[in-house]
Symmetry: C2
Subunit: 293 residues, 2 copies
């Protein structure tokens, strides 16, 4: 009896929130919805320039699209293209009836006006949910909002592992428009109490352990460490830092995984946590848009 209890305790003691596993399992839902759709939707990706990291991300999107049966068309535009020329290309995709979703792989070269480029995307094809139209829907808590893929991926991962957010205290580290803020807004929509911390937050070490769910999106490896966490917490690592050591590409998150994992209850790794879920959510958005088109 004691042994059995010990085993059960060991099982529920902590959980690795495996994004690949969750995506693998959830993909069947997307495939079913694609079947019901009756046509193969197309996502158009605009890549401006040839940033290596962007190319890798696009490759991952293409691989997943192929797996579930979605077409991805990547339009690579010259690094020195003007904002007006990018907008003109986006407008062509807006009126192309064979395209259901459009994204611009970010970041774009600095000479371009990111806001103007994003706003050129028709809200009805805005698969990344970044236009002001979609932001307003999310802001108002509308169920019609297309939610930025990373934020959506985080909560889909939590939901897959049965972690309820309602009434919990969610702490987000990072206040970017692309990740931190939409994550906070979505957590609020899901009835969490939400705190947003950032580089100007005082005494992070005292604050971070107070959260039930800690979501770190800063890009500073090792920011979340022994002092930041407590027993019973769920830790979601959204940081991605890429380093090249001896020609080898090494990816790390914000969380010092080896020391944090033994303390907390649930933790998502990097790589293999939120990353795969972000890709999943992008295509979930695409299918939502396709069903409405």
């Amino acid at each position: 009896m004691r042994l059995v209890l010990f085993c059960i305790y060991s099982i529920i003691d902590y959980m690795i929130l495996d994004g690949k596993k969750a995506r693998e399992s959830l993909s069947q839902r997307l495939e079913k919805r694609l079947e019901n759709l009756g046509f193969k939707p197309k996502l158009v990706i605009f890549q401006i320039g040839n940033d290596e990291q962007s190319s890798l991300y696009i490759e991952k999107k293409k691989q997943f699209a192929k797996k579930i049966g979605v077409e991805v068309e990547c339009n690579r535009l010259a690094n020195d293209i003007s904002t007006e020329e990018v907008i003109s290309e986006i407008k062509k995709a807006n009126i192309d009836q064979s395209t259901q979703g459009i994204i611009v792989q970010l970041p774009v070269p600095k000479h371009l006006d990111t806001t103007d480029v994003i706003e050129a995307i028709s809200p009805q094809k805005d698969a990344d949910g970044l236009t002001s139209h979609n932001l307003k829907l999310l802001w108002e808590g509308s169920s019609k909002a297309i939610v930025p893929a990373t934020a959506l991926g985080i909560f889909t991962l939590l939901d897959f592992y049965g972690i309820d957010v309602s009434g919990k205290h969610v702490g987000v580290i990072g206040r970017s428009s692309l990740v931190g803020k939409p994550t906070a807004l979505l957590a609020l929509k899901k009835n969490a109490t939400v705190t947003v911390c950032h580089s100007k937050t005082k005494d992070l070490d005292s604050l971070l352990p107070t959260f039930d769910i800690l979501i770190s999106a800063t890009g500073y490896p090792g920011l979340v460490t022994v002092k930041s966490v407590r027993k019973g917490q769920t830790v979601i690592d959204v940081g991605i830092s890429v380093d090249y050591q001896n020609g080898e590409r090494a990816v790390s998150g914000d969380v010092d995984f080896s020391v944090v994992q033994p303390i907390v209850e649930n933790i998502s790794p990097v790589p293999g946590g939120v990353g795969p879920m972000t890709v999943y959510s992008l295509f979930e958005n695409l299918i939502n848009l396709s069903e409405d088109s």
Copy 2:
């Protein structure tokens, strides 16, 4: 010496953040800017129906406009007007070159689509900062954002009384699109750590005293009481509840003022706190728009 110290201590012991006094003093800035503008800007207010509370708010806006020398035109539309008809009226004001700002007095009758009505306002005349265009600017932390008047009023009041927000922990109770969320976003822009609480937040009594600045925007009189606060805190009351007793109109905030005031360091009253600052901020927005027109 002891007496002098005691007197100083008494002076800095607590401060009533008097919105009327702040507005009176700050109005001179607006008057100076109006002088430099070289013309008298016009704000067009659309009031739909004849809600008594709305009429009172509009009257206050008119009074302040008269005082500083701004024209206000109130267009009262029928209670049963359609969304399309309201939009058509707004579009006329959009192209009227003698109009620099447009607002729709909220709430509008329930049969109308508030989002469609608000989105009809040209972002260049959106004095309440409620269109998706302005929301996106605030979201991105742009200095060009027209900030919703209540949120702007709160931070102008704090600034007037020398209360720095940067690095402080600001707690907002309430997550409405009109007040709670823009207040949180503006606090974040001003480098505060921000927590948003609401009806689903557990154990408010433990959480609320942890904030340096507590902003309550719920409309529940007496929500913030002895248990919610601590020494050293700044409390901003944004709640407004109107009650009629024996034919007398009585306004109360969220804060149980008489018991909270002796505990905290700074407190804004209701009425006479954020309310006058909201009116001030609306006209500050109008002048910003007029200078850019």
